[in-house]
């Protein structure tokens, strides 16, 4: 209302747009405050001793227990869990992106018998809630033997392998690969390139934004994953971060300071990755959204 009134009064155009710009900035600043404040608050709480976290009025500035909380966490296996989480997420992201790009390429660019049925089956898998598969999968992991391991319970492969052929990733890669002109691939074939070369030297390089987005997605999927690692990683030394942090929630005593510090330390790598790969992340998400 204010805006139209100003315009009616015959204000110069540049003034109106400056006013608009100020309004936009005000809205943005408010938005930024609301999205950043929870993170700030998390770090503030992470630096408090347990008995200060639920205090009212709450602390708004950092306390002195950050180091004590970190020490407490590391004394209870946090370091090993950090390694487990990072290892699983990195290996999973690399392998699953590789497999998804291979499968997506095949689904998009090769015509073969049963292609659509097979693809449909993959999409179907996307719709099965994981709670349904948890117990049979656990039984499978309990009984499987491979390379002399008596069981796959509490092993890295038990977390990495089951979700490796990720339907969402294959779907995403197929959609992007479909946009790739067949002529481009044929041209390479005419020049005598093997199918492997066509895939790695021609198809993949054009897929970089989607690959990056999928890699980040896959990394985050494993990094945040809770239920399956909780079920299968029964040895404390094999637990991932979310499972270890949840162990701080007891029956009647909860170490809130350590809980906040653990959460903060778990969020930090994700925040850094996001900032570093922000562009790929957004462009990839857009690509998936528009072309889907």
């Amino acid at each position: 209302m204010a805006k139209t009134k100003l315009a009616n009064d015959g204000m110069p155009k540049s003034l109106v747009s400056r006013f608009q710009r100020i309004m936009i900035y005000i809205v943005l600043v408010i938005g930024a405050f609301f999205s950043l404040f929870p993170f700030y608050y998390m770090f503030v709480q992470a630096s408090q001793p347990s008995s200060e976290v639920l205090r009212f009025p709450p602390h708004l500035w950092f306390g002195s227990s950050a180091w004590a909380n970190i020490q407490g966490l590391f004394a209870n296996g946090f370091g090993r869990s950090l390694f487990n989480s990072a290892f699983i997420a990195v290996v999973y992201a690399s392998l699953s992106v590789f497999i998804a790009s291979l499968a997506g390429y095949a689904f998009a660019k090769f015509r073969f018998r049963g292609r659509s049925v097979l693809f449909g089956m993959f999409l179907l898998v996307l719709m099965i809630p994981y709670h349904v598969t948890a117990v049979p999968l656990f039984q499978l992991m309990a009984k499987i033997t491979f390379f002399g391991n008596p069981t796959w319970i509490s092993s890295y492969q038990a977390v990495i392998l089951p979700a490796l052929a990720n339907p969402f990733g294959i779907f995403l890669m197929r959609q992007s690969m479909q946009a790739l002109p067949d002529d481009l691939l044929d041209a390479a074939r005419m020049d005598g390139a093997s199918e492997w070369r066509v895939f790695t030297k021609v198809a993949l390089p054009t897929m970089r934004p989607t690959l990056a987005a999928l890699a980040i997605y896959s990394f985050m999927f494993q990094w945040n994953s809770f239920f399956w690692p909780l079920i299968i990683m029964r040895d404390k030394a094999m637990e991932t971060l979310p499972v270890r942090i949840n162990a701080l929630v007891g029956l009647s005593i909860i170490d809130y300071g350590q809980l906040m510090m653990g959460t903060a330390l778990t969020t930090l790598p994700i925040m850094m990755i996001f900032i570093a790969f922000q562009r790929q992340f957004i462009s990839g998400a857009l690509a998936g959204a528009v072309k889907g």
Partner: protein, 444 residues
């Protein structure tokens, strides 16, 4: 048609591969099993793993050194887990026929029925080893561990209830805690406190939409806890349950309930002076010490008020047990540890002293620590009160549908406290709903 057959064969090929992979595996099934019936502790050998939630896990850890003096050849590994995480792992392990389970696992007493109903032989039958201890344990807890006459777990800690209260706030309002004998007395005190604090400090915290802990304590006091009677019929429409919910409504109508959100909300209200009392189990002492160190000397505890003068003031809330999964490969070693930790004064009092885990094992109460004053709690001998309370706790029935009952009751409580529904009607509706969900009859 040809196409479809192709896919079928593809799928069966996949399935076949999985089955084959699963086949060559049973090498874990037979490793060393402990020697049975041995009387010499040094002959009990092996490694055992124990699962418990965090502070409880630490308390068990504290008993390991002295346990190992007695049983030098048993290696105990304690794993700490989040509260519900224990159950997620236990359930999947039992469903998978005992794969990946520990040798000893902590289970809250009120969940025992759920596990024994779903997995009747999932937890080892301890009857022959444990029945000699029956008279030593808190009878209300022992009843929860004994299912169809078989002992499936050993009571660990009990939750005798008390009314934790703020000494300084009572004093300010001119209320003498010793004068409070009935809930009516407490309501009168609550009104006084509310006025003197200018409305800041209410009487007690309730998570109105999610937790009916207050209702359970009150019905336990009256001997009709929890939702079912001993025949397994729904037991909500009786006079006493109505009396309990009516009492909660009365407290709420006078503006004395602080409606809090979950466990963290209760702790925050305790810490920040939003409530003058918290009716909870003995285990809440540890929470207060941990979360409100600056209130040292300002908290004390009395028994829950009675419904009428001279009425029962004893009840139980919470508590847990240790069970041995039947799949354990070293039941002898597991039992040796459970027996030492839970059925000796030494084991139980180590956990009590360092971590405030209240023994279900009654002989432990003869130790000095139970008659000593506790500085944090107004320098009163509060443990003595709980030790004397144990034998007066009326038994309670939980059944495998306990969790369903909790959800239905929380919703009934919310209808009464937030929407003003008549308690009797709300309980009738709750009974119907529970009958619907469980197929159980409603007791007349």
């Amino acid at each position: 048609m040809v196409r479809r057959n192709m896919h079928l064969s593809l799928i069966s090929l996949l399935v076949l591969t999985l089955i084959l992979a699963a086949c060559g595996s049973d090498s874990t099934a037979t490793t060393t099993s402990g020697n049975t019936g041995s009387t010499n502790p040094a002959d009990v050998k092996g490694e055992i793993t124990v699962w418990a939630w965090n502070v409880a896990a630490k308390s068990l850890e504290a008993t390991v050194p002295s346990f190992n003096q007695k049983y030098p050849n048993v290696k105990v590994t304690i794993q700490d887990l989040g509260r519900t995480d224990v159950y997620d792992r236990l359930t999947t392990g039992l469903q998978a026929g005992g794969a990946g389970l520990p040798d000893v696992v902590a289970i809250e007493s009120d969940r025992m029925d759920v596990y024994t109903a779903t997995f009747p032989e999932g937890l080892a039958d301890l009857t022959s080893r444990a029945s000699k201890y029956e008279k030593d344990f808190d009878p209300s807890k022992w009843a929860q561990s004994k299912i169809n006459d078989k002992i499936r777990s050993i009571p660990w800690d009990s939750g005798p209830t008390g009314l934790w209260y703020r000494v300084d706030i009572f004093q300010q309002a001119g209320v003498d805690p010793k004068s409070i004998e009935t809930w009516a007395d407490l309501i009168a005190a609550g009104e006084k406190i509310l006025t003197t604090t200018g409305g800041k400090t209410k009487l007690l915290p309730v998570d109105i939409v999610a937790d009916d802990a207050g209702f359970r304590m009150m019905t336990n006091q009256l001997g009709v806890c929890c939702y079912f009677n001993s025949d397994g019929k729904i037991n909500l429409t009786n006079e006493k349950s109505v009396q309990a919910l009516t009492l909660l409504k009365e407290i709420n109508d006078k503006g004395l309930i602080a409606n809090i959100n979950g466990w963290d909300g209760t702790v925050a209200a305790t810490k920040n002076g939003d409530v003058a009392t918290v009716p909870f189990g003995v285990w809440y002492s540890g929470t207060i010490i941990d979360q409100a160190p600056d209130l040292s000397g300002k908290w004390d505890v009395m028994l829950l008020p009675a419904f009428e003068k001279g009425g029962n003031r004893a009840a139980n809330l919470g508590g847990s047990t240790l069970a041995i999964p039947a799949a354990s490969k070293n039941i002898d070693a597991a039992w040796a540890f459970v027996e030492y930790a839970l059925a000796t004064n030494e084991g139980q009092n180590l956990m009590m002293e360092k971590f405030g885990i209240w023994p279900s094992y009654q002989p432990a109460y003869s130790a000095d620590l139970y008659s000593k004053p506790v500085a944090f709690f107004n320098n009163q001998p509060i443990w003595k009160m709980f030790a004397d309370e144990i034998k007066n706790i009326p038994p309670a029935t939980y059944t495998k549908d306990y969790a369903k009952g909790q959800a239905v009751l929380a919703s009934a409580q919310s209808k009464v406290l937030s929407q003003g529904m008549d308690p009797k009607q709300a309980l009738q509706e709750a009974a119907d709903e529970l009958a619907n969900q469980t197929g159980r009859e409603i007791a007349q």
